[in-house]
């Protein structure tokens, strides 16, 4: 199975160097389309998506992450660094199960 990357120019170009196919997106429409395309390919194992792009289509991504098992989705920081508005992993888990770890 393969990786697939959705993100800005640098992310796609960079991972392209390591042999990952991907799509450069700028608008929510493009992002949604790329996301659907990535998921529709049965050979896609892991989708890398930059946080800023994921933010554009947040409801779609979240629905997918919490409901579906496959492919796996990873949000990665882009060249500007990590988005500060995203909660840390531990807090996300706490919120998800409703108890404090």
């Amino acid at each position: 199975m393969k990786y697939y990357v959705i993100g800005d120019e640098d992310a796609v170009l960079g991972f392209g160097l390591a042999g990952v196919r991907g799509r450069r997106v700028r608008t929510p429409e493009e992002a949604g389309e790329a996301f659907r395309e990535a998921l529709s390919d049965r050979d896609t194992g892991i989708v890398l998506i930059t946080e800023r792009v994921a933010e554009l289509i947040r409801p779609q991504v979240d629905r997918y992450i919490f409901k579906e098992d496959f492919p796996l989705i990873v949000e990665i920081p882009d060249w500007e660094g990590k988005l500060t508005s995203r909660p840390p992993l531990r807090e996300m888990v706490n919120a998800a199960i409703g108890i404090k770890l």
Partner: protein, 212 residues
């Protein structure tokens, strides 16, 4: 409390049910504890990996930027197109208390040299390596994140079941058993006094019949 007829059969049945519910509660409680421990270790590992991924990506982006500065973005992308490298993902599964978790393995299939070292910057080579490193981390990170999501969902489900048993089902059954037991005892006492009465009346009639 359920509306059950206060009979001996129902009492036995409810007692059996109560025993079963208690056993289930104990098992689910254990399951929850095991899942939470597993989840904790995974979350620790994942936050570790998150940092590593961030660092690896930051270095990789920096290298790419240098490469773009020295060679121009267009040439970086055209040279990059020549890189013959194919990362492949193998997905396996492992099970924790019946929850299926993914295990990701990333392998690289590459045929180097990819491009002529003449006229390409060293940053180009470094970008390729850096992104390859980042991608290696990414597989494991994806695995951890997906595992956490699934485990969290399972923990939530288990907690709900444990609470339902502990707060509703078991007290309910206990109350029913108690109620039926009381009713049966009450009936017994009723019968006892009734018998006494009958016996008294009989002995009185007997003695009255004996006197004349």
């Amino acid at each position: 409390m359920r509306a059950t007829a206060p009979t001996k059969t129902n009492l036995l049945k409810l007692r059996e049910e109560l025993k079963f519910a208690r056993l289930g509660h104990e098992l689910l409680d254990q399951k929850r504890n095991i899942l939470v421990v597993e989840l904790l270790t995974l979350v620790d590992q994942a936050s570790d990996y998150e940092k590593k991924v961030e660092e690896a990506l930051a270095t990789a982006y920096a290298s790419l930027q240098e490469a773009a500065l020295t060679m121009g973005k267009l040439r970086v992308s055209s040279t990059g197109a020549a890189v013959n490298m194919r990362p492949t993902v193998t997905l396996k599964q492992r099970k924790v208390m019946g929850v299926v978790l993914p295990v990701v393995e990333t392998a690289f299939e590459e045929r180097s040299p990819h491009y002529s070292p003449l006229g390409t910057s060293v940053w180009m080579d470094k970008s390729v390596r850096d992104f390859q490193e980042a991608l290696k981390l990414m597989g494991r990170f994806a695995e951890l994140k997906a595992s956490i999501m699934r485990l969290a969902a399972e923990v939530r489900k288990t907690i709900r079941k444990v609470n339902a048993l502990e707060k509703i089902a078991i007290p309910d059954l206990e109350e029913s058993v108690h109620y039926i037991q009381n009713r049966l005892e009450e009936n017994e006492r009723d019968m006892f006094t009734l018998m006494k009465l009958v016996k008294n009346r009989l002995t009185r009639e007997e003695s009255e019949a004996a006197i004349p």
